[in-house]
C-alpha cells in the first residue's frame, strides 16, 4: 500500500505521532535514570562542600581534585558535624540541610516566606569551619558555590561552579588559580562586613595582601567576576546575624 506522503493531512498526522512517540520515550528514559542522576547530584554537592573546607585530593598545583565519589558519603559524615537550617531567629538541625535548594528559597523569600538558610559546620583537626552556600548570576547563567569561614570570619576555602560561563574566560572561576586566591581573605573590614571583591588593577596580582577584601580578577571575565563579588556579598550577608554571634562568642 503506497501512502501519499505529500498530503498536508498526512504530514500533520506524522508530525503529531512522531512528537507523541518521541516524547513518551524520552520521559520514560528520564524517569528511569532519575534516581541515579539525583544521587550523583547529591554526591557532587557533598564533594563541593568538603572541597570548600579543604577536604579534597588536590596536589600542590594543578587541577581540582575532589574526594572520590565512593568515599564522599563517609567523609561527609565524618567532617561535617552539624547541618543547620536558619529561619529568621530560629536555628534547627537538619541532616538533609545540604539538599535545600537555595534558588527556590530565594524565590520563596521574594513572596514573603521566611527563607530557610542552610549552614554547615565542619570540623577538621580541632578547627571549626562554617560553610555557606552561595548562589548568583554570572554573565550568561547561574553561578553558585560554597565559602568556608573560620570563627574570625576569615575565608578558609571556596568552591565555585557555573552553568554556562564562557570556556577559557568566565569558566575559569572553577579553576584552582582563581579559587585558591580566596584562601585567607577577610570578609570584614575591621568589623564591618564588606565581602570580597573580584577586581582589576588592585596592584596585588599575586594576592599577597589578605586584608584588602580584594582578589585579582580574571582577564576577559569582568562580568563573571562582578557576579562572583555580588554573590559572595549577598549570600554571606544573609547569614550576618548568625555569623556575628559566632564571632562574639569566641
Amino acid at each position: 500500500m503506497a501512502i501519499n506522503t505529500d498530503k498536508n493531512s498526512y504530514t500533520i498526522l506524522f508530525a503529531a505521532i512522531m512528537v507523541i512517540v518521541v516524547g513518551s520515550v524520552l520521559s520514560f528514559v528520564a524517569s528511569a535514570f532519575n534516581d541515579k542522576i539525583q544521587k550523583n547530584k547529591r554526591l557532587e554537592k557533598q564533594q563541593n562542600i568538603l572541597y570548600a573546607m579543604g577536604i579534597n585530593e588536590n596536589e600542590d598545583e594543578g587541577s581540582v581534585n575532589f574526594v572520590p565519589t565512593n568515599k564522599v558519603a563517609d567523609e561527609f559524615s565524618k567532617y561535617i558535624k552539624q547541618q543547620l537550617v536558619i529561619e529568621g531567629d530560629k536555628v534547627t538541625e537538619d541532616n538533609e540541610a545540604y539538599l535545600i535548594d537555595i534558588k527556590k528559597q530565594e524565590t520563596a523569600a521574594k513572596s514573603g516566606a521566611v527563607r530557610k538558610l542552610p549552614l554547615f559546620i565542619g570540623e577538621k583537626e580541632g578547627k571549626k569551619f562554617y560553610i555557606i552556600p552561595m548562589y548568583g548570576k554570572g554573565l550568561w547563567d547561574a553561578i553558585w558555590g560554597f565559602i568556608s569561614l573560620d570563627q574570625d570570619l576569615v575565608v578558609q576555602g571556596v568552591y565555585f561552579d557555573h552553568k554556562g560561563e564562557t570556556p577559557g574566560l568566565g569558566a575559569n572561576i572553577k579553576e584552582r588559580f582563581f579559587m585558591d586566591d580566596f584562601e585567607g581573605e577577610n570578609i570584614l573590614n575591621d568589623s564591618e562586613f564588606i565581602g570580597i571583591k573580584v577586581t582589576k588593577g588592585n596592584n596585588d596580582p599575586t594576592n599577597n595582601t589578605k586584608n584588602d577584601n580584594k582578589v585579582d580578577a580574571l582577564a576577559g571575565a569582568t562580568i563573571t567576576g562582578n557576579g562572583v563579588s555580588a554573590m559572595i556579598k549577598e549570600s554571606v550577608n544573609l547569614y550576618k546575624g548568625y555569623l556575628e554571634k559566632i564571632k562574639a562568642k569566641k
Partner: protein
C-alpha cells in the same frame, strides 16, 4: 570479513580513510577541537556519536518510506535530538564527572554535521542494515581522528594518557622530566587541535594523492 559482502565492508572501511568525515569531508570539526584535550573525553564522545549515528541511521532508514519529504529535516532533527538526550541521560547516570566535562558538547552532537549528513545522504535511500553499517563506519572514522588527536594532545600537553602519568612526574622530576622535558601547555588549547588535524590531513593526502583536489 566473512560476515559482510565486499560492498558492505566498504561502508565501514571507506569512512575510516578515503571518505573520512573529518579529514576528507571536513565535517564535525568543532567538536573535534573542543573535546580532544583528554583522551578519555575523546573516546566517550566517539562512542556517543557512534551510538547516535548508528541508531539514528537505522531509525531513519526504517521510516524512510513514511517520512513526509516536506518535514524530513525536522524528523531527522527530532530523532537525532531524542537519541542525544538518551546519551546525555546515560552519561549523567553512569559517568557524571565526564558528563560535566563534555557538558554542552553532548547536546551539540545534534548539530554535528556528520549526523544530519548521514541521515540525509544515506539513511533516507538505503535499507536499515546498510544504514547501520554506514553509521558505524562514519562514526568510527570520526572517532578514530578524535582519538588520534586526543592521544597526542593529552600526551604532549599533560604528559598523561587516560590520566596515567606515562612520561613520569613533572613535579617530582622523574622519567622524561628528569632530563629537562617540559609539557607543552599549548597542546591543551583548541588551536593545537586544528593544527594536529591539519597534520593528519597532510599525511593522509601525501600518501593518497587521489584526495588532492585539482585547481
Amino acid at each position: 570479513m566473512g560476515l559482510l559482502s565486499k560492498k558492505d565492508a566498504n561502508l565501514i572501511l571507506d569512512p575510516l580513510a578515503d571518505t573520512n568525515p573529518i579529514t576528507v569531508q571536513v565535517l564535525g570539526i568543532c567538536s573535534a577541537l573542543a573535546i580532544t584535550a583528554q583522551l578519555k573525553a575523546a573516546i566517550v564522545m566517539a562512542l556517543s556519536v557512534l551510538f547516535v549515528v548508528a541508531m539514528g541511521n537505522v531509525v531513519i532508514s526504517l521510516l524512510r518510506n513514511i517520512i513526509p519529504s516536506k518535514i524530513r529535516i525536522i524528523a531527522q532533527l527530532v530523532i537525532a535530538a531524542a537519541l542525544v538526550i538518551i546519551v546525555d541521560q546515560i552519561l549523567k547516570a553512569y559517568a557524571y564527572e565526564l558528563s560535566k566535562t563534555l557538558a554542552v558538547f553532548v547536546g551539540l552532537i545534534i548539530t554535528n554535521c556528520i549526523i544530519m549528513g548521514r541521515f540525509e545522504a544515506f539513511a533516507l535511500g538505503n535499507g536499515p542494515w546498510r544504514s547501520f553499517l554506514d553509521g558505524i563506519g562514519n562514526a568510527a572514522g570520526y572517532g578514530l581522528i578524535l582519538i588520534v588527536v586526543g592521544f597526542f594532545r593529552e600526551l604532549l600537553g599533560s604528559g598523561t594518557l587516560l590520566g596515567f602519568k606515562v612520561l613520569g612526574d613533572p613535579i617530582e622530576k622523574t622519567g622524561l622530566y628528569a632530563i629537562g622535558y617540559e609539557n607543552n601547555g599549548f597542546m591543551l588549547l583548541p588551536p593545537m587541535a586544528l593544527i594536529v588535524v591539519g597534520i593528519i590531513i597532510w599525511i593522509q593526502r601525501s600518501r593518497n594523492r587521489a584526495l588532492i583536489e585539482e585547481n
